[in-house]
């Protein structure tokens, strides 16, 4: 039983993997699927570089056994798509929210969770919510600004179209994107 078989989806694609039981989700992604966007810093849960979405929630891929992901849906930085992801990437670029880029995948995943929440957050609250992701380069200010901006843009996008959609067009109701 040293080897296990796991069925999961990665970026919406079903996969069946036969792997040693000790394989973490991070190692499954990096070594078995070549998805090296998920970074490994500490392997103790502290740095957040390995953050991925597991069934829509951010988790530490270094502290998740791949074997425990039976039936789960995994999204990594490579598969982060949709308007919120676009917004966040654009804001990171505008603010210069990365230098070496090591922390960036984890920052994007943790930030995406906040942007998707559609909750207005104070700067202090953004800092608190991002406190589980360590950056050795930027000093955090640009990252926090980028996430604040993406959160605001997400909320605006949700409320603004309501006024601009012509009544007769049969366009989707306010708040439905894509």
């Amino acid at each position: 039983m040293n080897e296990v078989t796991v069925h999961l989806t990665v970026q919406h694609q079903p996969r069946t993997m036969i792997i040693p039981a000790r394989t973490t989700l991070a190692d499954l992604l990096r070594d078995h699927l070549g998805l090296t966007g998920t970074h490994l810093g500490c392997e103790q849960g502290v740095c957040g570089a390995c953050t991925v979405l597991l069934d829509d929630l951010p988790v530490r891929a270094c502290l998740t056994l791949a074997a425990a992901c039976e039936g789960a849906e995994v999204i990594t930085v490579e598969g982060l798509e949709g308007p919120d992801a676009e917004r966040l990437r654009a804001c990171f670029a505008e603010q210069g929210a990365l230098q070496c880029g090591f922390c960036t995948p984890g920052m994007l995943l943790a930030g995406y969770y906040l942007v998707r929440g559609r909750q207005p957050l104070s700067r202090e609250e953004v800092c608190q919510a991002m406190s589980g992701n360590i950056c050795r380069c930027t000093g955090y200010n640009a990252i926090v600004r980028a996430i604040e901006a993406a959160i605001s843009q997400g909320i605006e996008a949700e409320t603004a179209p309501a006024q601009t959609v012509p009544r007769s067009s049969g366009a989707p109701a306010a708040g439905t994107e894509e």
Partner: protein, 291 residues
């Protein structure tokens, strides 16, 4: 680093899980959220030969509620308490404590049963569950038993659980509407383990008077500590009349520490506990006057 090799078992029910634990003996470890066990395994401080993953067991995720309180399944995650996806029978205390644990990504996987079984005295669940006089229901091939959390926690990473026992759920009594709570966690940064962790419970009073306080302190000894002497000292006083300085001597007595210690680091730690308990006490009254 990576964990050493092990055999992985994913039982579908509790009976199968405890059978495995009994058959595999000392070489087996339960794994729930893995948020404490996997860091230790990644550092090769633990190398269990078998892991019994209990997160596939539906009954461990269930919560039952009645008039007297709730029984939260052992694998209920911190996140489910935080967002009150399970009913909170303590008027928000469980939710508040859960929200203070680590980071969102940790709370999405870490479980209440795992935290109690891990018995880290700086952790949130041991202190608040001891304060609430909660109990765990524990299953083995020998049957079920009920263990009050105050008896479960024996020391740093040490509990009254036998190696083949599984925590099935945590029983928490409903807090009466007349009971109010306040908490304070002191840590270097959000998400770190507490340097001091205080839970204050008391009876509601329209005045700022402290009535029937129950004060518990985590991160101060090898298990959560009830501050019985400090409770007697503050009983009946106006919360505004009590200062953090007033609390240093009684807290030191409750901890068996010397408030006049020559070592400035030891005096600093006592002061930190006093400030943390003071803030928890004040938080009770802030909640009340908010209404």
């Amino acid at each position: 680093m990576k964990p050493a090799a092990f055999d992985y078992h994913r039982p579908a029910g509790t009976a199968e899980a405890v059978r495995l634990l009994s058959d595999l003996g000392d070489d087996a470890k339960v794994i729930a959220g893995g948020q404490s066990l996997l860091p230790i395994m990644n550092m090769r401080l633990a190398e269990p030969a078998h892991l019994v993953d209990v997160t596939g067991i539906a009954e461990l995720r269930q919560t039952t509620v009645d008039a007297s309180g709730a029984r939260y399944g052992a694998t209920t995650t911190h996140m489910r308490f935080e967002y009150q996806l399970v009913p909170d029978v303590t008027g928000g205390l469980l939710s508040r404590m859960a929200a203070g644990i680590g980071y969102q990504a940790i709370r999405n996987r870490g479980t209440v049963g795992g935290s109690l079984a891990h018995s880290d005295p700086s952790a949130e669940w041991p202190t608040v569950m001891a304060a609430l006089d909660a109990a765990v229901h524990v299953l083995s091939v020998r049957g079920m038993r009920r263990v009050p959390v105050r008896d479960l926690l024996l020391g740093f990473f040490s509990t009254a659980l036998e190696p083949d026992e599984l925590i099935v759920d945590v029983e928490v009594g409903r807090l009466p509407a007349s009971t109010r709570w306040g908490v304070c966690k002191t840590a270097r940064k959000p998400g770190e383990f507490a340097e001091s962790l205080a839970v204050a419970l008391m009876e509601h009073d329209a005045t700022p008077r402290i009535r029937q306080p129950r004060l518990w302190l985590g991160a101060a000894a090898d298990t959560p500590v009830r501050l019985a002497g400090t409770e007697r000292l503050v009983e009946g006083h106006d919360v505004d009349a009590v200062t953090a300085d007033d609390l240093v001597v009684p807290i030191a007595a409750d901890l068996g520490a010397d408030p006049g210690a020559g070592d400035p680091a030891a005096r600093y730690v006592l002061h930190l506990h006093a400030v943390t308990v003071h803030r928890a006490l004040r938080a009770v009254h802030e909640e009340v006057s908010d209404e």
